[in-house]
Each structure stands twice: as structure tokens, then as C-alpha cells.
């Protein structure tokens, strides 16, 4: 048994499925003993636990220490479904539920909460023999998601660069059986993500909240105290250099939502949204224009993926969304969305942040314009915008269906600071450029590269490349972006 850093065993892919590390949680000691014996007979490595809270502690303590969790539904200290959600959110491990009760509604609830499987007691050994399939399935889905980006050459090139620079811990390794780094909030989201990943080969510049990262995050939150928490504090505590406050803020938002949902609290916390003390100043200067121009090109290029993008952005949708955004914002007044073109031509209106709520770059699923966006939008209604884009890029590109919408604009800083906000890249349909404003910030500095978790990432080189490609289709000067004031 290979020992990991902490002295806990690490997976040995060569003998898979033997050696699968299973955590069994059940309040019934008879079942614990029986399951332990059965799993041992399957050559799995078993840890048993009688309490859900204990199990969560074990899981948190031993990061990557388990491959799969089997849990009973009825437990005295915590509902099995809650545990299921926690595990899915924090650790993203496959969870199998079991119960004496096989009622359809219960099973459905289990599946809705994200269970991989639902076993009925009494459990036979043959049912346990095959639980490794859930681990395997998850693994290949993750690999497939990342590999879908590899279709494009320009992405490949970038990927090489990014891989060199990115932290090893965040790369997907083929043989590695560590749990996926995509946070899974909902079963549906996961499904959508997979669906989307097949279509798009867009480089996403996003933060992938790995288990490790989320652990740090949760620790920081707990340290600060849930009520006083703010993204800046969390960011400081987390001590992750490449992480920006927006990432933390958006993740915090999701985390809060999740907690709220758990507590069945209908009142969304609107008190402690992320704060942005250092929103980039809005000066209309030439340098800004210049930088805008540069960024625009870069951004434009970065968003372009010539192949297989789905164009689905009717104008109306965007506007509708925009309006919704506007309407939903409480503290912010929506202002102009300055387009790249406008910026290029040196519009001297001071930029104000349009206060669109960003989508969490964390969210691993791609939402279609219509439904998903609105949904997310509403969820984020109460939060003040979380932009801290130092160098925002404007693109006048349409928002295709599968992207994370970054509805807020921020004019770029005159000072191009090394911290880029990490945003979902909006994949661009080269067809649909014109009337759309893309509110997006795109990072295109090399600093971003280490943000790339093995996913295609934008960087200067790539931007430039794409920019060149892009030019042949649309002469730069003719890019017209509406100015919405």
C-alpha cells in the first residue's frame, strides 16, 4: 500500500479496482461489520464510521484519502442526503446511498441530491463488487471534459504553455484516481456541463475549485467566522497567489447559497456580499483606450474558436437579460456598457462598472443563454457585482450559449496590473459579432497561465494568434459595438 504525504494510503491505479478506498457510514453496527467484511472480500480498503459528522471530518482530514463513500440514508445526527450534498460539494466523491426503505420518492430524492447509486438493504455482495464503476465513470468523465478542449490547435499550444506553468496539483492525470476537481453543485449542472463540453472546445479561463482549494476556502471561512466573512479576508487567509477576489467572491456566493439551501432558509443572505474596495478607477484616458484596444484584440481573439461553437444568442435575450440584471440590482445603477469599439475610438465617458453580476467562474456547468443565465442571474441578484478586473477586455462578441456570462464590464485600468480577474471566456461565434456587447473580462496576461488548471487558457501568445486569425474575418475598424448608455 503506497503511503501518501500524510501517511494515508494513496490510490494504486495499476491494481484497480482492487484497493479502492471506501468509506462506509452507517449508524447500524451490524451493517457496518457486515459491509466491512464484504468490501474486504472484494479487496477494497474499508474505513467504517458510525456517525455522519465523524465521516465528514474523516473526509476533510484525509483529502484524497477516499475514492467512494457509501452511506445510509437514515442516520441520527445528520440526514444522509445532507451528507451526500456535503460530500458532493466539498470533495466531489461518488456517493452511494443505502436504505431499508426502497420507496420511489426516497430513491428519487437520493438521485436528486447527487447519489451515484441507491442500494436496498439487505445488500448482497455482488452489488458491492461493482461499486468501482462509479469511481471509474467519474474519472473518465473528467478526463473527457478536459480532453474536449484539446481539439483545437491554438488551444493546444496554449495548453502546453499553461501546463508548464500551472500547478501540478491541478492537472488531470490520466492514471490518477483523485476525485474530480469540478465542484458539483447539482446533479443537473453536472449533466449540463458534460453535455456542453462535447460541443465546445473553448478555452476556459476559469478557476477550478479543486478539493484542496475548497478546503482552504472552507477553512478560511470558518476561521473568519461565517458572518464576518468577505472575499478579501478569505483571499488573504487562503494565501493562494493566483486566486483573485472575484473567484473567491463568486465561490463564496455559491457556498452561501448552498448553505442556505441546506438550512432551508428562503431568505438569501444579502448582507455580506463581496466587497470591492478597489474597483478600478474609471478614468477616460488615452492609455485606457489603448489598453482597451489591446485588450479588445486580445479578448476578441481569445474568444474566438473557429470551430464548433454554437451560436445562439439572439439579441433580445441579451438585452432581456441585461434588463433583468439592471432590474435586479439593488445597489448598483446600471450604466453604460462600453464596447471595445467605442473604447477604441476613445470614448471619453467615464466608465462605470455596469454592475452586472458575474457568473461564477467557478461554476463548472455551462448554461444556455435562456434558462441558465436567468437562473443564475437571479441567484446572484442580491450581490453587488464582483468585479475586480484590472484589465478587462472588451469584446463585442456575442454570447454564445455555452459560456459563462460575464455580464459586467469594467473599464480597464490604466495600469495594467498583473492580476487578471478570471472570467469565463465567452466563446465567440465569429458570426455573431456585431450587435452584441460582450461584457467580459478576459485575462490575457501570462499571469493567468498559472490559473489554468490544465484547461485551455488564454494568454498573450494565444490572444495574439487568435487576433491575427480574427482579423481576416473582420477588419478591426469595422467592428461596431453599440454603446449602451
Amino acid at each position: 500500500m503506497t503511503e501518501g504525504i500524510n501517511g494515508f494510503s494513496s490510490p494504486r491505479p495499476e491494481i484497480f479496482p482492487a484497493g479502492l478506498r471506501v468509506l462506509v457510514v452507517d449508524d447500524d453496527p451490524t451493517w457496518l461489520k457486515i459491509l466491512e467484511k464484504m468490501l474486504k472480500k472484494c479487496s477494497y480498503e474499508v474505513t467504517t464510521c458510525g456517525l455522519a459528522i465523524e465521516a465528514l471530518d474523516l473526509l476533510r482530514e484525509r483529502k484524497d484519502g477516499f475514492d467512494i463513500v457509501i452511506s445510509d440514508v437514515n442516520m441520527p445526527d445528520m440526514d444522509g442526503f445532507k451528507l451526500l450534498e456535503h460530500v458532493g460539494l466539498e470533495m466531489d466523491l461518488p456517493v452511494i446511498m443505502m436504505s431499508v426503505d426502497g420507496e420511489t420518492s426516497r430513491v428519487m430524492r437520493g438521485v436528486q441530491h447527487g447519489a451515484c447509486d441507491y442500494l436496498l438493504k439487505p445488500i448482497r455482495m455482488k452489488e458491492l463488487r461493482n461499486i468501482w464503476q462509479h469511481v471509474y465513470r467519474k474519472k473518465i468523465h473528467e478526463v473527457r471534459d478536459t480532453e474536449s478542449h484539446e481539439g483545437l490547435e491554438e488551444i493546444l499550444m496554449m495548453r502546453n504553455v499553461s501546463e508548464q506553468q500551472s500547478d501540478d496539483g491541478y492537472l488531470f492525470c490520466g492514471g490518477d484516481m483523485t476525485p474530480g476537481s469540478k465542484k458539483r453543485k447539482d446533479f443537473e449542472h453536472k449533466y449540463e456541463e458534460k453535455d456542453f463540453a462535447d460541443h465546445s472546445s473553448v478555452k476556459k479561463a476559469r478557476v477550478v475549485w479543486t478539493f484542496d482549494l475548497h478546503q482552504k476556502f472552507v477553512k478560511a471561512v470558518n476561521l473568519i467566522g461565517f458572518e464576518k466573512v468577505g472575499p478579501k479576508k478569505i483571499l488573504d487567509l487562503m494565501n493562494v497567489p493566483w486566486l483573485t477576489r472575484e473567484n473567491v467572491a463568486s465561490h463564496l456566493q455559491k457556498y452561501r447559497l448552498y448553505l442556505t439551501r441546506l438550512q432551508k432558509d428562503d431568505i438569501k443572505t444579502s448582507s455580506s456580499g463581496p466587497k470591492h474596495p478597489d474597483i478600478s478607477p474609471r478614468d477616460a484616458t488615452e492609455s485606457r483606450t489603448e489598453s482597451l484596444k489591446v485588450q479588445q484584440n486580445e479578448a476578441v481573439s481569445s474568444h474566438r474558436t473557429p470551430n464548433n461553437l454554437i451560436i445562439q444568442n439572439p439579441n433580445s435575450t441579451i438585452h432581456e437579460v441585461d434588463i433583468k440584471c439592471n432590474a435586479s440590482l439593488q445597489t448598483i445603477k446600471p450604466t453604460k456598457i462600453i464596447t471595445g469599439y467605442a473604447a477604441k475610438t476613445g470614448i471619453s465617458n467615464p466608465f462605470e462598472s455596469t454592475q452586472y453580476l458575474p457568473f461564477n467562474s467557478v461554476l463548472p456547468t455551462q448554461y444556455s443563454w435562456g434558462g441558465g443565465f436567468k437562473e443564475i442571474q437571479f441567484k446572484q441578484e442580491h450581490n453587488p457585482p464582483q468585479f475586480q478586473v484590472q484589465n478587462s477586455c472588451f469584446t463585442g462578441l456575442g454570447l454564445p450559449a455555452q459560456q459563462y456570462i460575464m455580464p459586467s464590464f469594467q473599464p480597464p485600468d490604466p495600469v495594467i496590473s498583473p492580476t487578471w480577474s478570471l472570467r469565463e471566456q465567452t466563446s465567440i461565434n465569429n458570426m455573431e459579432l456585431s450587435p452584441f456587447l460582450l461584457q467580459g473580462q478576459h485575462c490575457s496576461s501570462t499571469n493567468i497561465d498559472h490559473l489554468n488548471k490544465g484547461l485551455p487558457e488564454c494568454n498573450d501568445h494565444e490572444f495574439l494568434n487568435d487576433a491575427l486569425k480574427f482579423d481576416y474575418e473582420y477588419p478591426t475598424d469595422s467592428l461596431e459595438y453599440p454603446l449602451i448608455v
Binding site: 451490524t30 451493517w31 437514515n74 431499508v100 426503505d101 448482497r124 455482495m125
Partner: protein, 196 residues
């Protein structure tokens, strides 16, 4: 037919007095004065007794296939697996039965939710060792709880306790035979660890 009365009819069936047979045999001695069971006949006899008891229990529906699974899990590394599990089961279910009894003792208000919880736990445990009859009575009990039928609940509890006692006795018997057999084997072949 009321399932509870149907089940309780099982309880009153006569069972062969296996233990008496065993005892008589165990006490019988060969001409040399050595107890017969030491001469190896005992092992065979004991095993047939055990099998007979088991098949009887299966026939009566006291145990089901899960018990066989438990037996299959027993091996060299855990030679007493079945008896360990069953001991844990006895411990747990007696706790649950006490809880149930306590709730039902209250003349006024019954906490039906708690009743349901304890019943579920008992059901789960019983399914783990294959105690089919106990589990079925728990299910009937649960239905009575859902219907808020107090008298049915009281009856169900009685039957449940009765069934449980029967199961416990039979399982004890089974383990006794098993122990004797193992002991006999050990004496016959001292120093050798036998699988069952």
C-alpha cells in the same frame, strides 16, 4: 387474515428437541469409555444437527438467504464472524425493543415519529442477519404506526418480542452446536485450526 396472527401461529409449532438428542449422544460412551463424539462420529452428527436446525429455520421463515451470505463471509481471517455479527445484532435489537416498549408504555401520547425511527433501525438490523420474520413483523408494525392504530401497535410489539425471543433461542442453539463441533474437531486434531 391478520398478518400478525398468521405469524404468531408459527411460534407455537413444535420444534424437535435437537438439543436433547445432542445431549444424549454426547453423553454416550464407546466401549473404551471414550465419549463417542470424540471418536469423530460426533462431528458428523453435530453437523447434521446443525444443518437440520438451519433448514428448519429456513423453512419456518425465521431466517433467509442473507444468513447464508453471512456464513459465506466467514473464513480463516474471521472464524467467528457469524456469531460476532449476531451478537452485535442481539445487542442492538434489544436496545431498540426496549425503546419501542418504552414508547408504547406511555398511556397518553405516543411519539409516532420516534416509533418509526426505532422500527426502521430494527428493520435494518434484522435484514442484515437475515431475520426475515422479525423484519416482516416490523413492517406490519410500521403500517400500524402509519395508521395510528394503537391496538394493532400493541399487538405487533408483543408478536415482535415473541419472535425475537424465538430467533434468539434458535440462534443460540445453533452456535452451541457449532461450538461443540469445533471443540470436537480441536480435540480430535489438537493444534489444527479447522475451517467449518
Amino acid at each position: 387474515m391478520n398478518p400478525l396472527t398468521h405469524l404468531s401461529s408459527y411460534v407455537h409449532k413444535k420444534t424437535p428437541k435437537l438439543s436433547e438428542v445432542n445431549l444424549r449422544f454426547l453423553n454416550s460412551k464407546a466401549k473404551t469409555g471414550v465419549p463417542l463424539w470424540l471418536l469423530g462420529f460426533g462431528a458428523v452428527r453435530l453437523r447434521t444437527d446443525m444443518n437440520r436446525l438451519l433448514s428448519l429455520l429456513f423453512h419456518q421463515g425465521v431466517l433467509d438467504e442473507q444468513f447464508l451470505q453471512l456464513q459465506q463471509l466467514q473464513d480463516q481471517t474471521s472464524p467467528n464472524f457469524v456469531s460476532e455479527v449476531v451478537t452485535i445484532y442481539f445487542h442492538e435489537s434489544e436496545k431498540q425493543l426496549r425503546n419501542l416498549r418504552n414508547i408504547l408504555l406511555d398511556r397518553e401520547m405516543w411519539d409516532y415519529v420516534k416509533l418509526g425511527i426505532h422500527l426502521n433501525q430494527l428493520m435494518g438490523s434484522s435484514s442484515s442477519i437475515g431475520a426475515k420474520r422479525v423484519r416482516n413483523i416490523c413492517a406490519a408494525f410500521r403500517t400500524a404506526v402509519e395508521q395510528n392504530n394503537r391496538s394493532a401497535c400493541m399487538r405487533a410489539l408483543e408478536v415482535l418480542e415473541h419472535e425475537y425471543c424465538y430467533l434468539k433461542n434458535k440462534l443460540h442453539e445453533l452456535f452451541q452446536i457449532e461450538q461443540q463441533r469445533v471443540l470436537g474437531d480441536a480435540v480430535r486434531y489438537p493444534g489444527v485450526v479447522h475451517q467449518q
